[in-house]
């Protein structure tokens, strides 16, 4: 009864604060939209500059054969599974210009073909000097990807010209639908969880508002229990979190995102994740007396969620122990880490809820643990008679 009253009251307050509500709701869908804009073709395209100094060689028929031009043509043919180009190949005439563009992040790789490129290829003789040079900033991850792609095309080109064939046939078999996923789609699970992660701000701020205004003190002398108060705020925040998640999901679908598994399973994962994130938020609230303080302290768990859960950036798993065949890593205490794995399984591998049982159990346990710690701390910090 009291829990319902708190939910009703919190929902009214949330609804009547449209600025805060819309910021929480819009942020994740907006991020999804921006990510889609980063990848106009759905995946990253790598700009390769080619300084083709190849002088070419006269063929027997009297024609001039320029292997550099042919290689450039091959590079332009490299596409993703959906047919979108992987490389943007541009020919330049000045090395300095190419280096400047790489320094300014206007291109990822400069490919220099020496004047004797065609001649060496035609003769099939090894040379001491470099006839092909890759120039790039080796600290940039995009350079490495571009270099691998160009090198792969280059090796195939050389083998074709020399009439060689691979004695071993290598094939690639993607798991689930992973082979056909665009880079944008790979980011979506993390972005959806991002919608829920933001509750680590709004939940403690809702509690701190009551502390700061003195209304919690007013409620302290009523028959309300910590469970009613925190439970009411938690459930209201969860509704907001799930709404933000759904909005972000709809935007992603409209922008071309495809899910192999059931969408309702993803929503269940999002809802349980929101509970655990709010649980962390309640712990933040226990150390906050003002909204500003709650906002500042919430940055700490947010940073952990962002950088160590794998939601936004891949992180190595520091496995501590194993349960059955499931390794438990240090950052598994962060709810988003399980959520991202579960969503990727659902979206990419077509998993159902039963296939993500471990993640679901882990999220549920974390939710209960964080909520229990939050209630326990809250009783001592904000509801206890001083």
């Amino acid at each position: 009864m009291k829990l319902l009253s708190v939910i009703r009251k919190s929902a009214r307050e949330q609804w009547r604060d449209p600025l805060t509500l819309s910021l929480v709701l819009i942020f994740a869908p907006l991020t999804v939209l921006l990510y889609r804009l980063f990848f106009p073709t759905g995946s990253t395209t790598y700009t390769v500059l080619v300084l083709n100094q190849d002088a070419g060689v006269q063929q027997a028929a009297g024609q001039l054969w320029n292997a550099g031009d042919e290689l450039m043509g091959e590079l332009k043919q490299v596409t993703y599974a959906d047919g979108s180009p992987m490389l943007i190949v541009e020919q330049i005439t000045d090395r300095a210009e190419g280096e400047t563009r790489i320094k300014n992040r206007g291109a990822q790789l400069l490919l220099i073909l020496a004047p004797e490129f065609s001649q060496v290829l035609q003769s099939g003789m090894a040379t001491d000097t470099a006839t092909v040079t890759y120039v790039g900033d080796l600290t940039q991850p995009y350079y490495a990807v571009a270099a691998v792609m160009v090198n792969s095309v280059f090796e195939q080109f050389v083998k074709t010209v020399l009439g060689q064939s691979m004695p071993i046939r290598v094939t690639e078999e993607p798991l689930g639908a992973s082979g056909a996923r665009t880079e944008f789609e790979n980011y979506v699970p993390g972005l959806l969880i991002f919608a829920v992660i933001l509750l680590v701000f709004s939940a403690p701020m809702a509690v701190a508002r009551e502390v700061e205004a003195g209304t919690l003190r007013r409620l302290q002398i009523t028959r309300m229990r910590a469970f009613d108060f925190l439970g009411g705020i938690t459930l209201t925040q969860m509704i907001v979190g799930v709404a933000a998640l759904l909005l972000a999901f709809v935007v992603a679908l409209l922008l071309g995102f495809r899910s192999q598994g059931p969408i309702w399973a993803a929503v269940v994962i999002g809802a349980v994740t929101s509970l655990s994130v709010i649980g962390v938020g309640l712990i933040v609230a226990c150390f906050s007396r003002t909204v500003t303080q709650a906002f500042l302290i919430a940055n700490f768990p947010l940073a952990f969620f962002m950088f160590f859960s794998g939601a936004m950036f891949p992180v190595p798993r520091l496995t501590l122990f194993t349960i059955g065949n499931q390794g438990v890593a240090l950052f598994d205490i962060l709810p988003p880490s399980h959520a991202v794995i579960a969503l990727q399984k659902i979206f990419v591998l077509g998993a159902g809820l039963s296939d993500v049982t471990f993640e679901l159990i882990a999220l549920s346990v974390l939710s209960m643990a964080y909520f229990a710690i939050g209630v326990w701390l809250f009783k001592r910090t904000h509801l206890a008679a001083g």
């Binding site: 009864m1 009291k2 009253s5 009703r8 009251k9 009214r12 307050e13 009547r16 604060d17 205004a213 003195g214 209304t215 003190r217 007013r218 409620l219 302290q220 002398i221 009523t222 028959r223 309300m224 009613d228 206890a384 008679a385 001083g386």
Partner: protein, 317 residues
């Protein structure tokens, strides 16, 4: 003893070296308006918070109808309603919504909480604002709403911490009338440093300073304690330090013993049962001493006289 509703025994609260409340003991009778007076920082709010269970005393206990409440044995939530010193309302809830919400938190059904809320809004002239959010109300309206939130569960003891602070005269009269209307049906504990407010509504008054109870009695008895009758205040226009004033004081004390000189205020105060009759003689003494008088005021004894005598003139904040 059967009509004692609230009893406080040896209540003490320390904050490090500071003793905020020291061994406070008092009893509040059923149906009375009990004024709790003291300068800022005297320990009023700390005492009130301990009575309401918001603060844990370091020593002592609070009993309601003989049942201790500080250890949680008594049902303090249902029996006590508290209106804090600051206006505490939910900005984005309407007047009726917050009354209903607080009522529900006290265990009332939604329907009963709404009904009680509407009745209170009617009685404190806020019924027209029942569906307006608190943030749209004026300061006086918000304070009245804050007062209603303490009453929605119909408690038998109502604790009002400075209920008239920040109110305009119209709202002040309204709140005062409302408090009076509650008296007899409920026990009211009223903290204030507004003497006028206390004198007008309180049946008994406790004055507290530096955490200690100084006096506890009816307003009339307290006023009598500082002197019967009237107070004659004579402005001396800066002559208070002169020898002639000292001589005049000695001569006046022959007429009546209640003569005091406030050098800082340059005011001579004479307390006497028949100050009006003594006035010609007093003026003659002053004239003989070659003193020129400024403003001369004759007034009845007030609670403020009691308060100042007990707590002094020094500023506390």
């Amino acid at each position: 003893m059967s009509n004692i509703v609230l009893q406080v025994e040896g209540l003490t609260k320390r904050y490090g070296e500071l003793i905020a409340v020291k061994n406070l003991s008092l009893a509040v009778n059923e149906g009375e308006v009990f004024g709790f007076l003291g300068p800022n920082g005297a320990g009023k709010t700390t005492s009130i918070n301990m009575i309401c269970g918001l603060l844990k005393p370091d020593a002592g206990r609070v009993l309601i109808h003989g049942q201790p409440v500080t250890n949680g044995a008594g049902d303090v939530q249902a029996r006590v309603g508290m209106c804090p010193q600051n206006v505490v309302v939910w900005e984005r809830l309407t007047c009726l919504e917050q009354l209903q919400f607080v009522g529900e938190m006290y265990g009332l059904t939604s329907a009963l909480a709404r009904q009680r809320g509407a009745q209170l809004l009617e009685r404190l002239d806020l019924i027209e604002k029942r569906d307006k959010q608190a943030r749209t109300l004026s300061g006086g309206m918000r304070r009245r709403l804050s007062l209603m939130l303490a009453l929605v569960h119909d408690p038998e003891i109502v604790v009002l911490d400075e209920p008239e602070a920040g109110l305009d005269p119209q709202s002040r009269i309204k709140v005062r009338e409302f408090i009076r209307s509650l008296a007899r049906r409920k026990t009211i504990i009223l903290t204030t440093n507004n003497m006028d407010e206390a004198e007008r509504v309180a049946d008994r008054i406790a004055i507290i300073d530096h955490g200690e109870l100084l006096v506890l009695d009816t307003p009339d008895a307290l006023k009598r304690s500082v002197g019967e009758g009237d107070v004659l205040e004579i402005a001396l226009n800066g002559q208070a330090g002169s020898d002639s004033v000292q001589r005049a004081c000695q001569d006046l004390k022959q007429l009546t013993p209640g003569v005091s000189l406030d050098a800082a205020q340059s005011t001579l105060t004479v307390r006497a049962l028949n100050a009006v009759n003594l006035l010609p003689s007093i003026m003659e003494v002053l004239a003989t001493s070659d003193l020129r008088c400024g403003e001369v005021r004759l007034r009845a004894n007030t609670l403020e006289d009691v308060f100042i005598q007990l707590t002094g003139r020094r500023l506390r904040e």
